[in-house]
């Protein structure tokens, strides 16, 4: 199985202000179908993408929180988050709609070095 392509999706942008994380999520859902080694990591303002409690009714914008929740069903089981990005923004695992594994930056560096491709959104 070592010839699987290792692809990391790195979400770095805040949701709603710009569409990168939402469209990035659409790509993750498709990649899940290809049976490669896909991981999804939240760093910097990307950690806000999985914040609980988004209420988009007033602005009439599509709420993409529910889509994140279905990730586990899509064969994307490797979810990670940068500890420092999370903590500096006053967030804990309880604040999220999914449960990513919390990594220190050294672990993230190591994980990045193992990838065949990294897509930043």
């Amino acid at each position: 199985m070592s010839d699987l392509t290792k692809i990391m999706i790195m979400m770095r942008k805040a949701p709603y202000g710009t569409i990168y994380s939402f469209e990035g999520l659409e790509s993750v859902l498709i990649m899940g179908a290809y049976e490669q080694d896909i991981s999804l990591i939240f760093v910097d303002d990307g950690v806000y993408s999985i914040k609980k409690g988004m209420d988009t009714t007033q602005l009439g914008i599509k709420n993409f929180s529910p889509t994140f929740r279905v990730l586990e069903g899509y064969d994307i089981e490797k979810l990670y988050i940068d500890r420092e990005s999370m903590e500096s923004r006053g967030l804990t695992l309880d604040d999220f709609v999914v449960e990513p594994e919390v990594l220190d930056k050294e672990e993230i560096t190591k994980l990045m070095e193992e990838q065949d491709a990294i897509f930043p959104f």
Partner: protein, 118 residues
């Protein structure tokens, strides 16, 4: 009062056209006059009638066209539009393509000008 609005970013990609729409709606509800909304930079992409968003999302171009039905002038910068492939063939109802002079004229007419973007 008379308000002018500048939109500098494309729809969906950036929230600023949503913010501008919500602001215009709230201002009109309070009885203010919108002297015009000027679409500049990637803001011109708000004006294409080919916009076809997902069914469960808002339709930003149609929202603007409805604003125009309420008498608001929606002006798309011709220089910015040409660079981005927007012309009269794809222009949605209620928008018009014109020059940057319109932005100046709006600024002269308006008591307040609010910029959304960049």
């Amino acid at each position: 009062m008379k308000f002018g609005v500048l939109v500098q970013e494309g729809p969906y990609h950036h929230e600023s056209s949503d913010s501008a729409y919500q602001f215009v709606k709230a201002a009109m509800e309070k009885g203010h006059e919108i002297v015009g909304v000027f679409f500049y930079h990637d803001g011109v992409i708000n004006s294409t009638k080919l916009t076809d968003p997902q069914q469960d999302d808002r339709h930003i171009q149609k929202r603007w066209s409805e604003v125009a039905e309420n008498g608001v002038d929606l002006v798309v910068c011709v220089a910015a539009a040409k660079r981005r492939g927007i012309n009269d063939d794809v222009l949605a109802p209620g928008f018009r393509i014109s020059g940057l002079g319109q932005l100046t004229e709006m600024a002269i007419k308006a008591d307040r000008f609010v910029t959304f973007g960049a």
